[in-house]
Symmetry: C2
């Protein structure tokens, strides 16, 4: 069961309290693809890069079952570049530089060979482009997940609303859920968002875990308490990749199975933050993932005797 992952493939310069790295490979599609490929292959990437994107990274992605047929390579331009600095709490960051470069011309085209994919992850980008991808799908995917950000909530609210109405799962952070609805309470915000169209809402809270809302149900997945979070960059995209990868692998999009999928996403994100960039995602084995998931089980399981 294949997964389409639409999003940036880029370079990041990142500073955290633990150090600084210069122009390492990043981007939503990169993180999501590395994470999802642990569960299912192929992952069908849709992105755009410049002539500077490393051939070695392309080889590594292909080796992990990531198809790059949908990745446009622009010969005379540079790849998207982002530079940011994290604060001590690692939940907040300042963007220092955003060089759109090739992203300014991003016009995602779904190759014919991708049309059979039943799972679609729309990484954060211009809502009109996300809509364009949805419209290019000849058959509605079994499950479509949408990520977005504050910038689009402010600058293209109507396009965003329309895009949101077309997907099955919206995935935002707590601040974005508040901004999108004008509700401070995440529970109230969830009611409003579930009325906008999506059947499921995932609210990411970084080191404080994630919530899954569906009808009147709610599920909470903790983040694993870690000694050090070296670099949170890409954790949200990695989470999304683990989530959709597990759903595609199990071919089960019920609320019950989504709970497990969120734990899988959280486990993948917990690896991601242990090193700068997607490095850690390239090192881990299936056994590492199983061990990590078992830590999540131990983290939250308890016996209950009612009062």
């Amino acid at each position: 069961m294949s997964v389409i992952a639409v999003g940036s493939m880029a370079f990041d310069t990142i500073e955290t309290p633990f150090g600084k790295v210069d122009r390492i490979v990043g981007g939503a599609a990169t993180y999501a693809a590395y994470a999802a490929s642990n569960f299912v292959q192929p992952i069908l990437a849709v992105s755009i890069v410049g002539n500077d994107f490393p051939e070695q990274e392309m080889v590594e992605l292909r080796r992990r079952g990531v198809s790059l047929e949908g990745v446009e390579i622009v010969p005379n331009k540079k790849s998207f570049f982002w530079s940011g600095k994290y604060h001590m709490d690692m939940n907040t960051r300042d963007t220092l530089i955003t060089d759109l470069n090739v992203m300014a011309d991003f016009n995602p085209v779904i190759p014919d060979s991708y049309q059979d994919a039943e799972f679609l992850m729309l990484g954060n980008t211009v809502p009109a482009l996300q809509m364009s991808v949805l419209r290019q799908m000849k058959r509605k995917p079994r499950l479509t997940i949408l990520d977005t950000m504050n910038f689009w909530i402010e600058s293209t609210p109507d396009d965003l609303r329309q895009t949101i109405s077309m997907v099955d799962v919206l995935m935002v952070n707590d601040a974005e859920a508040r901004q999108l609805t004008g509700e401070y309470s995440i529970v109230k915000a969830s009611h409003k968002i579930l009325h906008m169209g999506p059947k499921f809402l995932i609210v990411k809270k970084g080191e404080h875990g994630a919530l899954l809302f569906h009808e009147n149900h709610v599920f909470f997945a903790p983040a694993l308490p870690l000694e050090e979070v070296f670099d949170p960059t890409g954790a949200g995209d990695t989470f999304a990749g683990g989530f959709i990868g597990y759903l595609a692998k199990t071919k089960d999009i019920s609320f019950e199975n989504m709970k497990t999928a969120i734990i899988m996403g959280s486990a993948m994100a917990s690896f991601c933050v242990e090193k700068f960039g997607p490095q850690r995602l390239k090192e881990i084995t299936t056994k590492d993932i199983d061990t990590r998931v078992q830590q999540f089980v131990e983290l939250v399981q308890f016996d209950i005797d009612l009062v």
Copy 2:
């Protein structure tokens, strides 16, 4: 199995985004006693009040199995008074007024009739007084829990360190755990604190839940996502009361049982914040608690198939 609860009994004036209440009954011992009495009785209160503390509240507490023999009533003085205003996020607040009144003379005396208690909750107060209580116990209680706050970490660090070394469970919030250890990572902070003496550490994170650390184990209890948090005042003390009340009821102080106790504490705290002051704690039934605990089970339970 009785529980001693040492702490303030007081008046609070509270402003939240949802309204304002004037001089309602509060205090760490009050909240802890109301919460714990749902699990075990008697609760043996140790506190000090002025001549203004309502007789009606005393009657209500006694009716719920709270002994007030250890509560000194000072005839010519006023009860402790605190006034605060919560910010929109409800996790932060400004203290507007602190009138110590009788608390300035607080010198807790453990009545002889309390000496058989096997569970001791030391609510937040001067560390030297907490130590005095520990020394008054003729037989070491089976379990002693200590709460404290930033003020004592700054002003009486040596006394606080000594008190911490004498207890079984330290209960602080995330900011206090960081301040106490100089470690930003809560996991690293937990290692340092468990080296100070306590066998267990509970880190409260408000709406983000609570962590329990013991040796190399960690357990996470979520907070229940609520439509509205009307008033967080007393939620930490209510959590402590539910936690120790459940342990006393079950007479089991293992790490496994403490996990369940933390869920019980979280359930009690989730009621506390639904109304101003301890009001909601006086309304709930055993059935309400069972239903609420079941919501926690549903909130975190998931099935796992390894990758």
